[in-house]
Amino acid sequence: MSQINRISGGQIDRAKSLNFTFDGKSYQGHPGDTLASALLANGVRLMGRSFKYHRPRGLLSSGSEEPNALVELRTGARQEPNTRATVAELFDGLEAKSQNRWPSLAFDAMGVNDKLSPFLAAGFYYKTFMWPKAFWEKLYEPIIRRAAGLGSLSMEVDPDTYDKGFLHCDLLIIGAGPAGLAAALTAGRAGADVILADEDFALGGRLNAETFTLGDASGADWASATVAELANLPNVRLMPRTTILGAFDHGIYGALERVSDHVAVPASGKPRQTLWRIYTKRSLLCAGATERPIAFDNNDRPGIMLAGSLRAFANRWAAVPDRQVAIFTNNDDGHRTATDLLAKGVRVAAVIDTRADAPRMADCELLAGAEVIDCKGRLGLTSITVRLAGGQTRQIACGALGVSGGWNPNVHLTCHQRGIPVWNEALAAFVPGTNPVGMSVAGAANGTFSTAAALATGAEGAVRSLADLGFKAKAADLPPAEDAPVNLSPFWYVKGASRAWIDQQNDVTVKDVKLAHQEGYRSVEHLKRYTTLGMATDQGKTANMGGLAIMAEMTGKSIPETGTTIFRPPYTPVPIAAFAGRSAGADFRPVRLTPSHVWAAEQGAVFVEVGMWKRAQWFPKPGETHWRQSVDREVLATRQSVGICDVTTLGKIDVQGTDAAEFLNRIYANAFGKLAVGKVRYGLMLREDGMVMDDGTTARLAEDHFVTTTTTANAVSVYRHMEFCRQCLWPDLDVQIISTTEAWAQLSVAGPNARKLLQKIVDAEHDISNEAFPYMACGEITVCGGLRARLFRISFSGELAYEIAVPTRYGDGLIRAMVEAGREFDAVVYGTEALGVMRIEKGHAAGNELNGTTTALNLGMGGMVSKKKDSIGSTLSEREGLTRDDALNLVGFRPVDRSRAFVAGSHFINKGDAANAANDQGYMTSVAYSPNLGHTVGLGFLKNGANRKGEILRAVNPVANEEVEVEVVSAHFVDPEGERLRA
């Protein structure tokens, strides 16, 4: 039997053994064990090295408050750093490693830091690594990060999945100890929708760790019987292994469920963890209390732990750190540990109680009015030094010391909405003050520590919460239970101690707190940041009160006057992966696919993300090795014959109603009232501040029916804006709008042969000749033998062009039919890159030009802003600053040396001027290589550009330290007269 410190009893399944390793060494434990309890049972006390001084450390606690026993769990890609051994449920094959030590846990080379401690006090980094500044990033920080710190990352992709979800309930009960179970029983029986969540895998809280009886049953048995009843109630959802991590606005709670942390590898399809968002009408916080230590010199040695944890290990897990122990306490509860351990056959050398009038409660030696002032045993406790009431000292041999400085109610969640806890003198602890709306607190979390009071207040809390919701609940019948009062005399640290640990996780000592005070960091928030007290994974659950008490003493104020730091979510650490949930990797966000996507993928199209859309960027042909070859071919073929492009992604908004035309008049700068049915008009949409918001075309299908398009990027925001105008500005206009973006597959057909190609698709009864269907015509037609479709004669490329729309399910069929019909014309299908080249060649503004800082005037469309009507943005577009003579104008640019290229983002500088901001003349917005012209072309905004044609400037790119001489030209590089598109 290698489990040398396994004692009798406990809630472990001894019939089954689980194999695990710690730092490569094999051990055995049982179902019901945590990694911490199994290590203790196997005689392991040393579990980690401290953060800064690399001091050997063991367990301080048995729960989620653990500051010391942080391990790396699992190996390879599943390796997880900073896991608290106390909450790691043991499973067969578990592999754990200690952290922050080299080469081994027992001999850590960085342990030298401990000897250097006089130089490593609070504020050490700030004081030491001040200069030279340049050294910080390259030298100091990497060294510090390597030496200090916690676990390491595998740097591999996490193979597990994480889930998210949403739950609703009448009453959320946080914590399944006696108060939570009594509350759940009461609310569950009343028929309310109840969620009972607890971070532990075994519900019952302290009932599983104590030897008290509830009526005739042991606490643990009562808990399991109660859980069994609750499990049978369909309106109660039990959530073990679930931490309520935060209380958010309006009764919303965050919860992390560790679905598969207790197995080696999650079952197929199962998430590792699930992050829940819980919508509650009421909540009852039954989170219990956390014990706090007393600081004395070298109080961080392995084997020294909280007294309540020592007895939890013995009672629940049948494990002790050693067979000979001592107790150091300032209150009655510490004595319980002695009693329980004695009952388990463990030798209790003495109970050292700081109170001179300490009662004798356990059958062992009592040293009243005494203090533990130091101890020995670097890698594991061997003895303690006690200063007796009379002042003489005594050595006591022991391998474990249980310390109790009293208990702090777990008020954390009550503070998540800025609630401030209040000081309770009798408990020498903070208890809940103002709670978040809808939350009440019961049991130890509210400062009522006895089991009987926990049961009673839990049941009462449930009755009261449900009464608010209209339920008539009856408090569950509860068994009699212990009802001992709290007897405590505050005692935070042994006077004269200096290397006495307050915050073991951050290596903050009594001396550091005093130093902070001496140097003026006296506010608790300053204390925290200067010393790092209360930071990192445990957030000072066992440390904050000690630091606060010492600071109070230093400043001569009371503890409540000194204050308390603000508790923020999360209650315990949450992996980033859980926040990401399913939104990881390729599923980071949903994608939108165009109607021709299947066909495009078959063609080997290269796709580009445009917002959520995946659009074909170009379609490589065999032999093409560079994207420019494909794009140039697509552009040339379109301008020479005909090209097809899927333009479904443009937003389409259906606008109907008797006031539809008037509505459009008001949201577009230009007028729509006189647009004839069967015609399309370009529209310029301004923001109220006069900047251009979006542009698009609007087709009038009937007197009271328009279809308006938006740019792909602005589809959502334009729709939102239109609803704002409709509902908030002109609520009585008769206009109805709805998006139809995805209902129609829309293909652009452009090029001299566009009409000929379309005539093979459009049914013969629809005349689409230039006379019958001129530029800017639109109509409802049929195609391919009777399918309803819409045709718009509009052009983005500057060519004779149409856009044809069919119901989306037929979009795939349509592009195949068009490609087939286009064979005789050598038709190409082009992607967004060719689309961009052609619109730049034509001088059409797009997203680069409609960048939120440009006006109609800047774009050369100032004349479109009608002064005869009210429209959004028209008034403020006339502001002085927006109409100055040297305003930026959109113009074209070509390189003086045609073989040279320039880039978008370049700034224009006059010849001979220094390239600085003061001499800035404007900036280049869009650049492409024009295969038609054989050189690079650009669009850009230039001061007074409209009047500077022919001027030579420099396009300066300070990022690449390059500049190119450019000539100012018309933005319309191709067909400036617009003859092609009217052909």
Partner: protein, 95 residues
């Protein structure tokens, strides 16, 4: 946060998009003598109250209603939720 939609009951604020001060409903008269000044004030001059604030929210992932939500900026307490269209009409907006 939870917004108690006048038609749909309590809904998670994640379904909504926030715009800002409800005074954006009170768009000035474009034909007023001092229209530019009025529009300037309308667009840029905002109260930033520490306390009750009437603000516009759009139920984008819902019924597409614009709502006027009265929210305490200190506590997030929401004391009133109205359809913006009703508010606009009550403030004299029409066609």
């Amino acid at each position: 946060m939870i917004i108690n939609h006048p038609l749909l009951g309590p809904r998670d604020s994640q379904e909504f998009t926030y715009l800002g001060d409800a005074s954006l409903i009170d768009r000035p008269d474009w034909q007023a003598e001092d229209a530019v000044d009025r529009f300037y004030d309308y667009l840029y001059e905002r109260e930033n109250p520490a306390g009750e604030h009437r603000e516009l929210w759009f139920h984008e992932q819902g019924d597409r209603s614009w709502l006027v939500v009265t929210r305490n900026t200190l506590t997030h307490e929401i004391t009133n939720v109205e359809l913006a269209r009703d508010v606009a009409r009550a403030r004299g907006r029409g066609k």
